[in-house]
Symmetry: C2
Subunit: 454 residues, 2 copies
């Protein structure tokens, strides 16, 4: 038969501590979250991977909607002339743009860029749609993919030439309102990542060198990964009038005087999934926070004989139905040809938060065995306590965040000034590389790249 | 100020009967569903347009999920060599493919196609993922866009070079199971379009000339538009082993013998929104079926003085809250500077299914005025009958389908054989153009292009 890395009977073969990078790749592939596409730099999401993205999308959509933001659609092709309208922006993205030159046998006129980001296209449209102060604020979000040619090795969810993301673009009559929006979005990002993915993040302001090309300033949400490196997990930009002037995004104010508008843009990508894998995963594989897990509870029956099977399954199905009525996502592993031990490994690799084991002895004792994935704790639960499982999942979610906070704290040090900062971080070379500037270091800053807000 | 076609105070200026094509375009633009992008052939969806797509997506997702289908993600770039692996398929799509030749300043090696459809990419992955009968059936759906260069004039939702769609790709161990899947999907398509968009459709089989390039056969869902032309609204293909052989989608059966799998693919696009506009719209603009309407009920207060306003608004807000508790999507038009008459026109243009008018006289009579968009009927409803509004919306949904069925019947004739068919349809030229073949005409077939199933 064909061989494949995702073949079910091979677990994770390296330790997270020993080879973090190889461990990460194995978890992504073997937990069947994603796979490499035929084109270098691109990946495919398998249902378990995409499901996590759908869960995040639905949470963000709910929060965006409460904040008056609606979704729209932008096409992927942007004419070169349009992309070049804001000079710094173009210069920043140009080296990594994919260019369409032909359709069928025919040359297209102006080369067409595959969107690296959609400011230029969105604001061309906004300029047509906005006439007066009544049309403001205009707040639209777009769920799509962005394409930026990645020359380094592909790292699923972290470094790919096409990535799923959302890009939000808002327009305001007043500067202050736009700046408030920037911060409101950053807060939504932070809260969602902490609540859904159980990852503690620090928010702050990017240095001048690292800000979004075209922005007045860029705010960012970052987190310390287990390898000690910070990961940027979302950014929210104040664009000022840097785009509204070249793109003529203007409006008649209440006195019928024409004004240039104030703008923001912001985005998070599937990199959030990469962060989740890195922060929570262990040597057995993926560990999923219950809120985003496609399967929250897996039930593994334990039996050797058909008699035992006939005793176990009716109770097991009863438990399944009871859990489903409370909207818990539950799956029964009824594969007859596999041993319970094999199944335990399989579901641990896939990161399912809670496993229920049930065999004839458990039936006798009127109980099930519950195994928590994140800390591998096992507890017994009486048949009359099944309704506690929803609460246990909530506890797991909270404990995972608490644990992640503790781990992040181990990698975090407080510093007083720039010289202490330099001595603690070690190498000045590295400092230059990550674009730190003197102005960005504040007293008691907990973070090395950014001026933090807290 | 800037001028724009979507300027609020210009309604539809042509009649649906007189210039169907111009009427359609005006409705799309002026109801703010979509707008033209800077690149010819491409459109942008504004929130009201995208919201309809989101509503359809969520309905389909629910039905797909019940049928064991999960979502995934495929990148947009397909190497030319891969696209060419199934020869007929490639020849069919080649003339309309957009080609990426450069990333930044560098030439990409093998040219990269922007996906016109993803069979070749999906099946390359499936070939890696499927080893044995245990991995089957594999049923994955992808919500994305497809790109096919359109040389004719852009028609939003109907003829664009990039379009939102879903493409489902399933793999089965047994031919019969695959063929059943083809029909199950077609049935989901039909039911969803009739229930959600209130458009009656006919399902059938495409002629050999019109089938999907690479399929064994193509089933289709079509409907008669008000201009008398049939519109293809969704297709479900039986691919047989036409792709599994070149792409080596094979599995070890229970006897451990390697077999080529049986496959299906199927899709619907935002063309469904185009059909909805054509079937239900009228000379006042868009008419939305309640189930997919972003706003289902708009409340327009009627007042001339501040005193009157102060009487009307408390009651109006009470009604709004009452409707919201029953999950009705309701909006209050509180724009102070506009007349009720202007607002009526505005919301009729946008197709909101139900309008509530409420003024001081209504308060006295303890009633509201309800205006139905689709038939422009007005009724009074007592304050104590507000809870009936949910039911009224359901009735509107049903009546819209009934009306659409009656209109479609007017454009439909029963025929007995091919010669009668030729005489009724008029021109043989046209017949050739639409690819009808003798075999496709069945006794009592109600449809001209397809061999129908009912």
């Amino acid at each position: 038969m064909k061989f494949s890395l995702s073949k079910e009977d091979i677990g994770i073969t390296v330790s997270k501590e020993v080879d973090f990078s190889e461990w990460y790749t194995q978890v992504v592939l073997k937990a069947k979250l994603a796979d490499y596409a035929p084109v270098k730099g691109l990946i495919v999401l398998r249902p378990d991977g995409y499901s996590i993205w759908e869960s995040l999308r639905s949470t963000f959509d709910e929060k965006f909607s409460k904040n008056g933001i609606r979704n729209g659609f932008l096409p992927i092709l942007i004419p070169e002339s349009l992309l070049g309208k804001e000079k710094k922006h173009f210069a920043g993205f140009n080296p990594e743009v994919f260019w369409v030159t032909h359709s069928g046998e025919n040359e297209v006129g102006d080369r067409l860029a595959l969107r690296p980001t959609s400011e230029t296209l969105a604001y061309t449209m906004y300029s047509k749609w906005i006439q007066s102060w009544r049309d403001l604020p205009l707040k639209i979000n777009f769920w799509n993919t962005a394409l930026r040619a990645e020359i380094k090795a592909t790292k699923p969810f972290l470094r790919t030439s096409e990535f799923l993301w959302q890009e939000g673009h808002t327009v305001h009559a007043v500067q202050e309102e736009a700046e408030k929006e920037v911060m409101k979005i950053l807060e939504i990002y932070k809260k969602t990542v902490e609540d859904e993915l159980a990852i503690p993040v620090i928010t702050g302001k990017k240095s001048e060198k690292e800000k979004f090309v075209g922005a007045v300033y860029t705010t960012t949400m970052e987190s310390i990964m287990p390898d000690g490196k910070a990961l940027q997990m979302g950014t929210s930009h104040f664009l000022g009038q840097n785009f509204s002037i070249p793109f003529e995004v203007k409006f008649a104010d209440k006195d019928n005087v024409e004004q240039f508008a104030w703008q923001t843009s912001w985005g998070v990508s599937w990199r959030l999934i990469g962060a989740m894998i890195m922060v929570h995963g262990d040597d057995k594989g993926l560990v999923l926070p219950p809120k985003v897990a496609p399967i929250q509870v897996v039930i593994v029956p334990i039996y050797k004989s058909d008699d035992a099977k006939n005793i176990v399954f009716p109770k097991l199905n009863e438990i399944k139905e009871q859990l489903e009525t409370t909207k818990i996502r539950v799956h029964v592993d009824d594969r007859n040809e596999l041993t319970p031990g094999y199944k335990f490994n399989d579901w641990e690799l896939k990161g399912v938060p809670l496993r229920i084991e049930i065999g004839p002895k458990d039936i006798e004792k009127q109980q099930i065995v519950l195994a928590k994935r994140y800390n591998r704790e096992k507890i017994n639960l009486g048949f009359n306590e099944i309704e506690r499982i929803g609460m246990i999942l909530e506890e797991i979610q909270k404990d995972m965040l608490k644990n992640a906070k503790a781990k992040a704290a181990e990698n975090t040090i407080d510093i007083g000034d720039y010289s202490e900062f330099k001595s603690k971080i070690g190498k000045v070379d590295f400092l230059t590389h990550i674009g730190v500037e003197k102005l960005d270091v504040r007293k008691r800053s907990k973070k090395r790249q950014v001026q933090t807000f807290e």
